[in-house]
């Protein structure tokens, strides 16, 4: 909430914002890391526009999924199946485009997300299986189905229009992926902060009993955020497919951890009730930034993993209230 109030008064607001630095560590951290890389890696082309746009291209899918994950975490749930669902959607999209054209492909991709989301939501809210387990199981199921229907082979996408819109295209030098990220980010931000749906989601995660007593159908809220998350995952899968002009079950593999890390880095609580879409996007960008910088530094993959883990732990630790 602090960000909304800081606009009220000039210098006092800035001081309040800085006084609240733990809340805003992600923004401070982002700037600090950016400056460090800009100085130390300048000679290796860090500030080269192409490199910066590459960071966007590599981050967009994570960001798209993380925007929806912000809603899931805010409602006090979790979705571990997003990476696998993205892979599955990339395959169903590619197969459907080959069989019936791009419109059918897009519909098939979204239908994949919808089906998984409804199933996740149904198991979680009606049968009562915690979303952690529901989506952990779904992670395996989605990957298995993707491997099965694609025969574990990459399915090529030959339709250029689809590939342009979903991830491959650029307007001038600006990649289409940036537009996807920004548009969904703005919609996500306003939905969470300024609509009654968003407020109900935050209330559900902030205190489920209290929310129910206030007349909120908390099960319906949880159902909806899980559907939203799978839909976003299927969209991310479609973007992967468009960018690489093929659907493969490996796409999105392991993304769930980056997605959750992006949201938590951004200031969204794993325990529900607190979430910020802007923070999440910056969190996703920061992960992309770190990956990029470590590669430019010439670190080996093993060293990258260790450094990335250390930086994430440091950032989250700093954001904790004592």
């Amino acid at each position: 909430m602090s960000t909304a109030e800081t606009r009220d008064g000039g210098g006092g607001a800035l001081r309040a914002w800085l006084g609240d630095w733990r809340q805003n560590i992600i923004y401070i951290g982002f700037v600090v890391i950016f400056v460090i890389f800009a100085v130390t890696l300048n000679d290796r082309g860090f500030l080269n526009p192409n490199n910066l746009l590459n960071i966007i291209r590599q981050t967009a899918m994570i960001a798209v999924m993380a925007i929806a994950m912000t809603f899931v975490l805010s409602a006090g749930e979790i979705d571990l199946s997003v990476g696998a669902v993205a892979g599955l959607a990339s395959v169903t999209v590619a197969l459907s485009i080959a069989a019936a054209g791009p419109v059918a492909g897009v519909l098939a991709g979204l239908a994949t997300g919808l089906a998984v989301g409804v199933f996740n939501g149904w198991l979680t809210t009606r049968i009562g299986i915690p979303s952690f387990l529901t989506t952990l199981a779904m992670m395996g199921i989605a990957k298995g189905v993707a491997m099965w229907v694609s025969d574990t082979a990459a399915v090529p996408i030959l339709h250029q229009g689809y590939a342009w819109v979903f991830g491959g295209g650029a307007v001038g030098r600006i990649p289409v992926l940036l537009f996807w990220m920004l548009v969904l980010g703005v919609i996500g931000h306003f939905t969470l902060k300024r609509t009654s749906f968003g407020r109900r989601v935050l209330a559900t995660g902030g205190g489920e009993t209290a929310a129910r007593f206030s007349g909120i159908n908390t099960k319906s809220m949880k159902f909806r955020v899980l559907v939203l998350s799978s839909l976003a995952a299927s969209l991310a899968g479609m973007l992967y497919a468009g960018r690489l002009q093929s659907g493969r079950f490996q796409l999105g593999e392991g993304d769930e951890l980056s997605v959750i890390a992006a949201a938590v880095l951004g200031g969204t609580s794993l325990f529900g009730g607190k979430g910020t879409v802007i923070g999440t996007i910056v969190g996703a960008l920061m992960i992309g930034l770190i990956n990029n910088g470590l590669i430019l530094m010439g670190l080996e993959f093993s060293q990258q993993l260790i450094a990335r883990g250390g930086i994430i732990i440091l950032a989250v630790a700093l954001s904790q209230k004592r």
Binding site: S196, R200, F213, S214
Partner: protein, 528 residues
């Protein structure tokens, strides 16, 4: 404007069971539009159950509900809200991670022209409500950062801002100073003039007499009487609330535990907010009861003694020696054990076995080199099962499979295993059936006979009068009066049957609690 005979709420033949406990049996409640209707009854009388049914939190087993002449067919908070019913819960409907204003208007958010939530308007409107009551709560603060009183005020404003046809206020005055209560009453008067029906729950009889038009009194889940307030002087009200006690409690022998050494001595003990300057002595072989209403500081006192909350002033002496109690561990070492109020969350681990629960507080003692001696654990458990007569299929069963009374015995057993000299029991019989209640009370007497010092908190006055040798009355964090149990007996009634005498004593105690409350408020007035 609706006439006074319009019925706003008609609940007929409402019954509700929770497990084996009958909370309500065929209760009727009829509230007219344009009246303040008091709902009265002791603890466990069924007030909150019937209100929660009206508000859709509980589903009745039997009975019908009509709101504004229309039957209420589905039972959910949404359905009741749609029917025009609003209620303040005791802090339970607030989301800690949202601000005060966001909580107040949750699900009814003000919108901008574009359809987005307008939090500024919410803040302004919340301010208007708080200003009207002339209390100061910052609508921009997170509810999680507020104190209990401010949370309750937020609850009240959340309820009254709903523009409801039926407004239920459950103990609204516990968070308010006397002058604020006055302003709330002025507001309620305005509401009823507009035809709103107000259901008002309070333990403060003087308030009821001033604000209510009619009252319905419940006892043990059944209707006692519905009457105009004019026909119910405070004495009569209390008589109806207390009623004729079943002999279940009255025939518990108090016995003659001889008072021994002063085991626990509190001198000027104060916590952060409550308790405030409490001086009290509990002797070996003595049961001291703490009487008072919700928020009077009884539980806070217990928690300070048991090291769960810090003491900011005063001393605690055990066996005459000053004890430094900074943590529950210190308290256990000093021989103090607290059987907490919230059994399910603070007393037991429901899914763990009787044995695991029973030995939890003595794990260190039976685990030489960190390895738990299972034989010792079983011995302790079996011994407690036997001495406390715990009904369980075996020590390996999950505690959740036991009845409420037996669960409570497990908690008591767990603390007795630490071999305490001083035992503090906070509402030991809450939520358990009447038969088990008298068993617990007998157990308390037994413990005193064995030479333990017992401090017992209970909101059931008949229980205090049955169990205790001394009764201390608390209000507003302070200890107001300390009386030997005999002071509550009416000499004129000597020789009549026990139930009758207990009833009279209960009225006497109830009157004194109300008196302490009034005295406390006068002090408050002088202070401010």
């Amino acid at each position: 404007m609706p006439g006074s005979s319009d019925i706003a709420v008609r609940m007929t033949g409402i019954s509700k069971r929770f497990g084996g406990v009958r909370a309500l049996q065929g209760v009727d409640l009829e509230v007219r539009a344009g009246e303040v209707h008091a709902l009265l009854g002791g603890n466990g009388a069924g007030k909150s159950t019937i209100l929660k049914i009206l508000n859709g939190v509980h589903v009745p087993d039997e009975g019908t509900i009509e709101v504004g002449g229309k039957p209420l067919t589905s039972h959910s908070p949404e359905a009741s809200r749609a029917a025009g019913i609003a209620m303040n819960y005791q802090e339970m409907s607030l989301i800690p991670t949202l601000t005060v204003a966001q909580n107040i208007f949750l699900t009814r958010e003000a919108k901008t022209a574009a359809g987005f939530i307008d939090d500024r308007t919410a803040v302004t409107r919340a301010c208007e409500h708080f200003d009207m009551l002339e209390v100061s709560v910052d609508p921009r603060r997170l509810v999680g950062d507020l104190g209990a009183g401010q949370k309750q005020l937020t609850e009240i404003v959340k309820a009254i801002s709903q523009d409801a046809k039926v407004l239920i206020l459950d103990e609204p005055s516990t968070a308010l100073a006397v002058s604020d209560v006055e302003r709330l009453f002025v507001f309620l008067r305005k509401l009823v003039q507009r035809g709103v029906a107000v259901i008002y729950v309070s333990h403060r009889m003087d308030e009821i007499a001033r604000i209510a038009d009619r009252a319905t009194i419940l006892r043990d889940g059944q209707n006692v009487i519905t009457a105009d307030i004019a026909d119910l002087p405070i004495d009569t009200m209390i008589e109806h609330i207390v009623g004729r006690r079943s002999l279940g409690l009255a025939d518990v022998e108090r016995g003659d535990a001889s008072r021994g050494e002063a085991l626990l001595q509190l001198d000027g003990l104060s916590g952060v907010h409550k308790p405030n300057d409490v001086t009290l002595t509990v002797h070996a072989g003595e049961v001291v009861g703490l009487a008072g209403l919700l928020g009077s500081g009884r539980s806070a006192l217990a928690r300070v003694i048991a090291g769960l909350e810090p003491a900011v002033a005063g001393t605690i002496r055990v066996h005459g020696k000053a004890a430094q109690i900074r943590s529950p561990h210190d308290a256990i070492d000093a021989g103090i054990a607290l059987v907490p109020e919230a059994r399910a969350t603070e007393g037991i681990i429901p899914d763990h076995s009787v044995e695991t629960n029973m030995t939890l507080a003595v794990l260190d003692r039976i685990s030489p080199f960190g390895v738990t001696d299972r034989a010792a654990a079983r011995r302790i458990t079996d011994e407690k099962i036997k001495t406390l007569a715990i009904k369980t299929g075996g020590r390996d069963l999950a505690v959740s499979t036991l009845s409420g009374g037996n669960q409570q015995k497990v908690v008591i057993g767990k603390w007795l295993a630490t071999d305490p000299d001083i035992l503090i029991l906070d509402e030991p019989t809450a939520g358990i059936d009447i038969g088990s209640k008298s068993e617990i009370i007998r157990l308390v007497r037994d413990l005193a006979r064995q030479g333990k010092a017992v401090l017992m908190i209970s909101s059931e006055l008949s229980e205090l009068l049955t169990a205790c040798d001394t009764i201390a009355i608390m209000a507003d964090g302070r200890l107001h009066e300390v009386h030997p149990r005999e002071h509550f007996d009416d000499p004129a009634l000597a020789g009549t049957d026990l139930g009758h005498r207990l009833q009279a004593a209960e009225q006497q105690l109830q009157n004194r609690i109300q008196g302490a409350l009034a005295a406390g408020e006068e002090n408050q007035h002088v202070d401010s």
